[in-house]
């Protein structure tokens, strides 16, 4: 796909011309070794399939019960949003907002924006403002923290294991699947191939 392009390394600013990168290969910066271009095979069908699966899982982990606390006949069922709502109720609105952004809003936007850009591209069309949306997508990435939340679930389970019985619900499994599906989707998108659709306006 890629043919000789002039590119500056975003980590050391070295200008270099990149020859055509064969499928499955990557071009590294000659000076600092950062990956500049990675040509991934079949880069639109695969992420699209994964993103659709991700959308279903996103709805599932929000709708179904998450963890249930059981002790001596007492049962307390929670959802993924319960913790966020509880933090807000305790007067920690800022913290609740941060968790909501990292756990629900950014992953949701990530899904929508990816579909908005990639569905038309796979049909050889262009959504209005797709390059701008694709940029927002790159900027959102570090704030997408579902996998860190999952590690938090494991730590909490160990912490509460002696106190009560914690029963995982459907949301726990959907959330786990969501993490793998979204990671696979991000890994399968070749951003360079999206950027290359742009033509210099006259």
């Amino acid at each position: 796909m890629t043919s000789g392009v002039l590119m500056a390394c975003h980590d050391c600013d070295l200008l270099q011309s990149i020859p055509a990168v064969p499928e499955g290969c990557a071009a590294l910066c000659r000076r600092c070794g950062t990956v500049l271009i990675r040509n991934k095979p079949k880069s639109f069908q695969r992420p699209l399939a994964l993103l659709l699966a991700g959308a279903i899982l996103f709805v599932m982990f929000n709708a179904f019960p998450f963890l249930t606390f059981k002790k001596e006949g007492l049962e307390h069922q929670t959802h993924v949003v319960t913790g966020i709502r509880q933090l807000a109720d305790q007067g920690m609105e800022a913290l609740a907002a941060l968790v909501a952004v990292n756990l629900l809003i950014v992953p949701g936007l990530h899904l929508l924006a990816s579909l908005y850009v990639l569905v038309p591209v796979s049909l050889n069309r262009r959504a209005p403002g797709m390059f701008r949306v694709f940029r927002y997508l790159r900027l959102l990435q570090p704030w997408h923290m579902v996998e860190i939340f999952m590690l938090g679930v494991l730590v909490s389970l160990v912490k509460l294991a002696k106190m009560a019985q914690i029963v995982p619900g459907v949301a726990v499994y959907s959330l786990t699947a969501f993490i793998f599906v979204m990671a696979a989707a991000s890994a399968a998108v070749d951003p360079h191939e999206v950027w290359e659709r742009w033509e210099v306006p006259r």
Binding site: D13, Q90, L139
Partner: protein
């Protein structure tokens, strides 16, 4: 490696940090993706220092104040980040203790030290191993978000242990400070421009 490296800046070009398109000097926004174009991130050193110093200050209350407060049948017990780690060590789950220690105490501190070192090395125009320093920066930037772990643990505990008089867990003030530390160090790392590491090298060859 060539002795004289041609950078985008020397060639009179601006490289977009998001989509990599090259534009001539003087272009305000990337014509392709709309990102603001700068040869180097603006005020990179000052902004990184400011965000980092703010994070370093907030790191203190984050560690001294309680992260969670457990109320169980009238008994109240507060836990800081460190006492949480100690609890796991004493109850024998040391792998979990290690995970929390690394994510909540070690990584934020390490990040503060590494970023300070990188900033100082750039300010003193160091020529020491630019490739390794670039890699150090990339690792620091990638690993920082994992410090949010403890915040998520608090969120889950607060949701699960909410049984009225029997037992409740409340988030403590440290949670807010700690979240601020993580966000600020992430922003500090994003404001740092690794290209500054290589600028010293070019000046040497001129």
């Amino acid at each position: 490696m060539k002795k004289k490296a041609l950078t985008a800046r020397k060639a009179g070009l601006l490289a977009c940090t998001v989509c990599h398109l090259l534009s001539p000097n003087g272009t305000g926004n990337c014509p392709r993706c709309g990102a603001a174009l700068h040869s180097r991130k603006p005020d990179s050193i000052a902004r990184s220092w400011a965000l980092m110093i703010a994070a370093a200050i907030l790191y203190i209350p984050a560690n001294l104040l309680p992260m969670t407060t457990v109320t169980s049948l009238g008994m109240v017990q507060s836990d800081t980040i460190m006492s949480g780690v100690v609890y796991f060590v004493q109850s024998g789950s040391w792998p979990i203790a290690l995970v929390i220690f690394i994510a909540s105490i070690f990584v934020p501190l390490l990040k503060l030290f590494i970023l300070s070192y990188l900033l100082l090395s750039v300010q003193y125009k160091s020529h020491f191993r630019p490739k390794d320093r670039t890699r150090l920066y990339l690792i620091t930037e990638a690993v920082g978000r994992w410090s949010m772990l403890d915040i998520f643990v608090v969120t889950i505990l607060v949701a699960l242990v909410n049984l009225g008089a029997l037992a409740t867990i409340q988030a403590g003030p440290a949670a807010l400070y700690f979240a601020a530390v993580v966000v600020l160090t992430m922003l500090a790392a994003m404001s740092f421009d690794p290209r500054l590491i290589w600028d010293a090298k070019e000046k040497m060859h001129e």
